[in-house]
């Protein structure tokens, strides 16, 4: 049987269907990989309960592992619910490079006022303003950078 490490390396190739630079591992929706004697189990959890891409992500994980000769059990549950804090440092850097502001730590998200500004991914400034807590997709909010004079999206803290 292959090692868990090997499987994690393979799974690096499965990306968020709407953010092609972010792997599911870095996004944090793959919460666990268990390798038993004859079975590989992948635990997944959606970013948002209403995430429409969950089925597709599950399918991609299964398809990829099948090309490696593995038929995994893929479970989707809320046992270990997703939080934006689960996005890896590598994932956050990739988001920023892609032009999406990475989420601030969820721990500061006790008071919603904190959401009024975000760090602009292109100039790193905070002369910004929230336009709407609901951006183009469920997981993003919309901001405006007064210095760049350009709108940008932030991956929401959750």
């Amino acid at each position: 049987m292959v090692s868990k490490e090997q499987i994690l390396i393979w799974l690096e190739d499965v990306k968020d269907p709407e953010i092609p630079v972010l792997s599911l591992i870095d996004l944090g929706v793959i919460t666990e990989v268990v390798v038993d004697a004859d079975q590989v189990t992948v635990e997944m959890t959606p970013t948002f309960v209403g995430c429409p891409a969950m089925d597709y992500m599950k399918l991609e994980v299964e398809t990829l592992l099948k090309t490696k000769g593995i038929t995994p059990h893929v479970n989707i549950s809320f046992k270990k619910p997703w939080s934006s804090d689960l996005i890896s440092e590598k994932g956050k850097a990739a988001l920023k490079k892609y032009g999406l502001a990475p989420p601030p730590s969820n721990k500061v998200f006790t008071d919603l006022e904190i959401l009024e500004t975000a760090i602009c991914p292109s100039c790193d400034g905070d002369n910004t303003e929230m336009k709407s807590p609901f951006g183009p997709t469920l997981c993003r909010a919309l901001y405006y950078c007064h210095d760049c004079k350009e709108a940008f999206e932030q991956f929401k803290p959750l």
Partner: protein, 251 residues
């Protein structure tokens, strides 16, 4: 163990989310502002997704699969409160309903994070985080429009007075209050209503809107027992329209 009380709780919550999710989705493409369009669409997605998660819990307790449960029952088998089935009407009513309902919903899930039914507590932990964005959205607009112009204030005030009797119907007493409380599944509708009242009072007090004396209002109940307005069945018919074209088909 008898799951009837738990199931009744899950059904009413799931039905609330499903129906209000559909109503919210009717704003998609129609919002008074692009941002509002997107906000109501996002909340619609959250709510429909949350209803699916709740129907899935019911399925695990032996009920039919989520699609069957959600899209083949008739109005008298639905347990949502009547507030959520009312047509969207003007934006002021949609906004007031969103404020009154989502405040209650956010508090309900907050309470349920402590539920003795583990799967529900886990789901509630997840949903609570999402609902913060809903209440943030509602509170922002209520505070802004509730203190803006004479027209915005009077419109919201009128909608508030119209919606309140329905909103009190959210907390219609369940047949199983005692069992749910005793089993530690849910702290009960009364406890929820008290928290809700404190919350909406605190937001409304920051606006020019007046909260009427709730003691003088007769709550509109019955939704939890399958009694609905004439608006629910047409929506359900719409929801099953494609299925009915060819019941043997997979879509």
């Amino acid at each position: 163990m008898d799951h009837t009380p738990l199931k009744e709780l899950l059904y009413k919550m799931a039905d609330d989310q499903l129906i209000l999710g559909h109503r919210n989705s009717e704003w998609t493409g129609m919002g008074p502002l692009l941002e509002e369009d997107i906000a109501f669409s996002s909340m619609a997605q959250d709510k429909v997704g949350q209803s699916l998660a709740l129907y899935t819990l019911l399925h695990e307790l032996g009920e039919s699969d989520p699609d069957t449960v959600a899209f083949t029952r008739n109005a008298n088998q639905f347990h949502n409160c009547q507030l959520v089935e009312l047509p969207n009407q003007e934006y002021d009513f949609s906004l007031i309903r969103h404020f009154l309902f989502d405040t209650a919903e956010a508090l309900r899930f907050e309470m349920l994070t402590r539920s003795s039914h583990q799967p529900l507590a886990q789901l509630a932990t997840k949903i609570r985080g999402e609902l913060r964005y809903h209440t943030l959205h509602a509170n922002t607009w209520i505070k802004q429009l509730g203190s803006a112009t004479p027209e915005s204030i009077s419109r919201l005030q009128k909608s508030l007075e119209y919606a309140l009797p329905f909103a009190l119907g959210i907390f219609e007493t369940s047949l199983y209050e005692k069992e749910l409380i005793a089993a530690g599944i849910f702290e009960g509708e009364q406890a929820l209503q008290q928290k809700w009242l404190a919350k909406i009072e605190s937001i409304l007090s920051q606006t020019s809107l007046q909260l009427p004396d709730l003691k003088l209002i007769q709550p509109i109940v019955g939704g939890r027992q399958g009694k609905h307005t004439e608006h629910l069945q047409p929506l359900l018919d719409e929801m099953s329209e494609v299925f009915k074209i060819d019941p043997t088909a997979e879509w």
